[in-house]
């Protein structure tokens, strides 16, 4: 290496020998590094796989949740829907009145008068449901020929 005269200003171009890279490669670097890198890449691939599975779970989770809710709702509603053909309490009450009307011509007349137009039928049904069994039975058995069902209903609070 050319010695540098401390009295002269240093000029980089006058020392081409300095251009050499003074960092030596670590021993066995050429083969050890690719080997270490392969191991690291294998870990990366495994991590990437885990991430894609996790991401798929994250993406699917809402869909699966909604599907579960739909199934749960179906399972919960199905028996209720199946039970629908069964008459409700109000239906039973109305049905018994209609049955009564079928066997008692007079009562049938009262009933015909009492039945409002279709639009009000639901209200009548509710009203009938509200009448205590005993009171209605009493009316049906004892006062069937005294006034119409509508009058009776009007008299109820």
């Amino acid at each position: 290496m050319a010695p540098h005269d401390p009295k002269k200003p240093f000029r980089l171009e006058e020392h081409p020998e300095l251009r050499r890279d003074f960092f030596a490669l670590p021993e066995g670097f050429e083969d050890r590094f690719p080997f270490a890198l392969q191991q690291r890449l294998a870990q990366e691939k495994a991590r990437a796989t885990r991430w894609s599975v996790r991401r798929a779970v994250w993406l699917l989770a809402p869909t699966v949740s909604v599907a579960c809710l739909v199934v749960a709702a179906f399972v919960w509603l199905a028996p209720q829907q199946a039970a629908e053909p069964t008459l409700s309490y109000a239906d039973l009450r109305l049905e018994s009145i209609v049955e009564e009307a079928a066997t008692d011509p007079e009562f049938s007349e009262y009933l015909m008068e009492a039945l409002p137009p279709d639009a009000a039928q639901a209200a009548l049904q509710t009203a009938l449901t509200a009448i205590p069994d005993t009171a209605l039975n009493t009316f049906l058995t004892e006062n069937a020929d005294e006034g119409t069902l509508a009058e009776y209903l009007d008299s109820q609070p």
């Binding site: 290496m1 010695p3 540098h4 200003p9 240093f10 000029r11 980089l12 020392h15 300095l18 251009r19 890279d21 003074f22 960092f23 490669l25 670590p26 670097f29 050429e30 590094f33 690719p34 270490a36 890198l37 392969q38 690291r40 890449l41 990366e44």
Partner: protein
């Protein structure tokens, strides 16, 4: 056989699932030494340099599909490596709020250890002078001085004009010469 393949061939094979492992291994062997030296000159420590080199190739492997074919593979790899080295140095400075002088001093001590007690005096001073340059200027100087990288490639690497790079290199040389003369 591997050395006959161009970078473009290697890249195409590295993107093909059937040949990816083999081609990427060839790519690593082709660039590992050059990139190691670039990183090592910046971070000085051997273990850190190997870790950052590994990170460089892992990032390259992860982003092979995103690499634009109109850029040079070598430039792309150099960019990842230089970014790794520069961000490592910045992190080192941010960590524990270390003053820049401390980091430089630490690097200078590592340089002295690497050179050993019998090291040439001028070489030691040159390395100390290089360490005093701002990081990006140091990178430009080292790529030009040691690797003789063309300014055009560096311009693509750093996204700076050739003129600005020439000026940066010229200023770096002046600073180094002034330091070595003064010490």
């Amino acid at each position: 056989m591997g050395h006959e393949l161009t970078d473009e061939d290697l890249l195409a094979r590295a993107r093909n699932p059937d040949t990816a492992g083999y081609a990427f291994n060839l790519l690593v062997r082709r660039y590992q030494e050059r990139l190691y030296r670039v990183i090592r000159r910046m971070v000085i420590d051997d273990e850190t340099a190997q870790d950052l080199l590994q990170e460089t190739f892992v990032k390259a492997w992860r982003n092979l599909d995103k690499f634009r074919a109109d850029a040079k593979l070598s430039t792309w790899l150099y960019r990842i490596a230089t970014n790794e080295a520069l961000s490592h140095l910045r992190k080192q400075k941010r960590r524990f709020f270390q003053p820049i002088e401390d980091v430089e001093g630490q690097l200078a001590r590592q340089v002295d250890q690497t050179l050993g007690p019998d090291a040439d005096h001028i070489e030691q001073k040159l390395q100390h002078a290089i360490l005093r340059l701002p990081e990006r200027q140091r990178m430009v100087f080292q790529l030009r001085y040691y690797d003789e990288m063309p300014y055009e490639d560096m311009a693509e690497l750093f996204s700076i004009s050739v003129g600005a790079l020439k000026a940066s290199y010229h200023h770096a040389v002046k600073k180094i010469e002034a330091y070595v003369t003064a010490h």
